[in-house]
């Protein structure tokens, strides 16, 4: 069964079609990369999937249910974890508390007035931090963390609601090359063990070709190529888009 099915998705800004008739599906446990040059419509596409933007037309089905019109909050409740291109964490809280926040929300405990938040789901949070390899940073404030570690916090937070699907917008952006490979290897390892599907965008082609099961190429809002990494790598149209005319 496919976790995500997208049919003829369209989004226009003014007269410009940012995404035109994009359709694809994502299988269970599959890691799918969405690539394309700047302005290809990757972020627009992403933002429609997680509910930040409403498509002009088209369907999005998550685990067999329609999600068009749902807010990011409701999409998350359906089992979608999210990481951002520019990390978004709670800077006045510790690393562990960031994960605890997601756990509190997942267990619908956000309106509890009496218990102490820092003592809720502590072990669960630590287990997740251990999984992504930053258990040693649990007590540190997210306001002082190195960027690479913040990316890991994002991953830990995204894993907290036992997601079926992870949406990762440039998960390694802003990191050093070595860190990039490490983080993506770690992510791939975790999702494969837990059977989580992943859709990610990325500019680092090493990361894309090493870890994606399948790659989609978006150009000017249209899906122009799709397939296994090797096939996409050799696609003449893709070469032309990335390297310019003359290389085709």
């Amino acid at each position: 069964m496919s976790v995500l099915e997208v049919e003829r998705l369209v989004k226009k800004f003014g007269g410009v079609a940012a995404v035109r008739e994009v359709s694809f599906s994502l299988g269970e446990g599959e890691i799918l990369a969405l690539i394309g040059p700047n302005g290809a419509g990757k972020s627009t596409c992403f933002n429609m999937l997680n509910g930040q933007l409403r498509p002009d037309s088209g369907r999005i089905r998550l685990l067999g249910r329609d999600t068009v019109g749902l807010s990011p909050r409701q999409v998350w409740r359906r089992g979608v974890g999210r990481t951002f291109q520019i990390t978004a964490t709670f800077t006045s809280m510790s690393v562990r508390e960031n994960v605890q926040m997601a756990l509190l929300s997942h267990h619908r405990r956000l309106y509890a007035l009496v218990p102490l938040a820092a003592r809720q789901y502590r072990e669960e949070a630590e287990r997740i931090l251990d999984l992504v390899g930053i258990a040693d940073q649990a007590e540190r404030s997210c306001g002082v963390l190195a960027y690479g570690d913040l990316k890991k916090v994002e991953l830990a937070v995204a894993l907290a609601n036992e997601p079926r699907l992870l949406l990762m917008d440039e998960p390694t952006a802003g990191m050093a090359p070595r860190e990039r490979i490490e983080l993506m290897a770690l992510t791939a390892d975790i999702v494969r063990k837990q059977g989580i599907s992943v859709l990610f965008t990325e500019h680092d082609m090493d990361v894309v070709f090493t870890h994606a099961d399948r790659i989609m190429v978006l150009n000017r809002g249209e899906l122009v190529a799709e397939g296994a990494p090797q096939a996409v790598r050799e696609d003449p149209l893709v070469k032309q888009i990335y390297l310019g005319a003359g290389h085709a």
Binding site: P72, F90, M101, L113, A117
Partner: protein
Amino acid sequence: MSFFVVQFLTGLASAASLFLVACGLSIIFGVTRIVNFAHGSFYMLGAYLAATIVATLPVGIFSYWGSVLVAALVVGLIGIVVEIVVLRRIYHAPELFQLVATFGVVLVVQDLTLAIWGPADKLGPLAPGLDSAVNIGGQLLPEYDVALIILGPAVLGLLWLLFHRTRWGTLVRAATQDREMVGALGVNQRRIFTSVFFLGACLAGLGGAVQIPREPISLMMDLNVIAEVFVVVVIGGMGSILGAFLAAVIIGELNAFGILIFPEITLVLLFLVMAVVLVIRPRGLLGKPELTVGAQPAQIAAIHLPGPATKLAMGVLFAVLALVPLFAGDFLLVLLIEVMLLALFAASLHFIMGNGGMVSFGHAAYFGIGAYGAALAVVHSDSPMELALVLAPTAAGLAGLVFGWFCVRLSGVYFAMLSLAFAQIAWSVVFQWYEVTGGDDGLLGIWPSEWASDRFAFYYLSLIIVAGGVLMLRRMIFSPFGYALRAGRDSPLRSDAIGINLRHQQWASIVIAGAFAGLAGGLYAFSKGSVFPDAMSIPRSVDALVMVLLGGVDTLAGPLVGAAALIGLEDAISRFDYWRLILGLVIILICVTAPNGIVGSLKLAFAGRRERE
């Protein structure tokens, strides 16, 4: 029919002055990102100056309009002074400090105006040449109103030309979109900021100056107009001049026609229109989304559960307060009761502001509604103190339910302005509804029950309720609810992405904070034996902000220290005639020099020393 035409034209005439002030505010905000609270003061100064200048000149058309123009220009110069002395130092401070600092300017201007022109209202002259009325189908419309109806669109047109046909205007529009980029292009930003402030202040001064034949000139003009202007700006959309014009016309017409149906209903109408606009267009009629407002503190302090030392300190403080009545006189007890009640009030504001990032400029609404809730129960249905003290937080919580529903749709300065508008509406209702609230005369004879009627007993009652309230608020800050609120302050994007319904969470927090403020207000009414409209006035709201600020936004003990400091300060300076001036200067000084507050600065100094050791 002609009656309605005249009424419509009167509405347009009133809109002119409102538009001038509102677009000045909007233009200043567009470039500097500062909501200038002192804009009402500029308006008031414009009226006083114009009346004074025109009185020194021989009567004539030219001397009248000349005076109006000169008054506007002088106000513009005063604006430049304010910009250079105060605002220039806080462009990069969090928005809260900017708002509060400009309120400090309001206080200073109020006392200076009082010192120069005295407390009595003044009546301006009629405009020569426009002192009779036009007959429209048997109905009379003052000629002066016709002039104002022309003035509004004329200024709108001139501003359009200024912004679209001059180099300066192009630079200002560019700076409105991206001031850093304009700076990077080598444009002198300072000069742009100062000149924009001059223009905005001029427009406010002009708005006040042209009003002198239409309304008495008084010391209340500043705060009266600022609340209306905030409503105009919220409806029209911040930063849009045309939006300000449309909204001013809407408000002007609502006032003109509303007053026919039922004088009190004008306020309700305003409220409804604002509500409808905000629900349909949260950024106002012509407002643009995504205005980045004021800089946030780069590093937001973490909070920690009280350690043994803090707990000990809190215990000692409680013990000291519990022992004070054994040796203190009546005067000190009365003062301490006031400090405690205001501390609870400040702590309730801190709950939503420090923890939730919602800068409320109308928190006194809840304090006042609590006080009036209790007082009305006593006066109109003879209810005992115990019942009244249950009604007080209930009434305030309900008000939070209504006001909060609207406020949580907005953020940043919009939230601040809307909360202030609500508080001002509540204040006007209390002020005008004489039969029920006693208007300006207040409600008297609000005495505690027999058992709590002596100072001793009332002191302990206050101590227990305040200590309980503050502890409950503190506990909630550490609860999942409080954490979720703080999560929303830290990153709305991430909150949304992990399923937190931020609006809902904030709404609930406003109800809770409102209820605690109302409880403080209810007790306050009993402690004084009376209640007056100023319990929910703008200065009272600012008191709460200053207390939180004095203590430090990021510290939990802040509100308590802030309350003690503010009451201490007010007690010390209240014997001076011009205590507002002193208070205003102190506020400005704090905003400019110690943005971390007393507790925050001590903490920083302490941490710094430890690091050096």
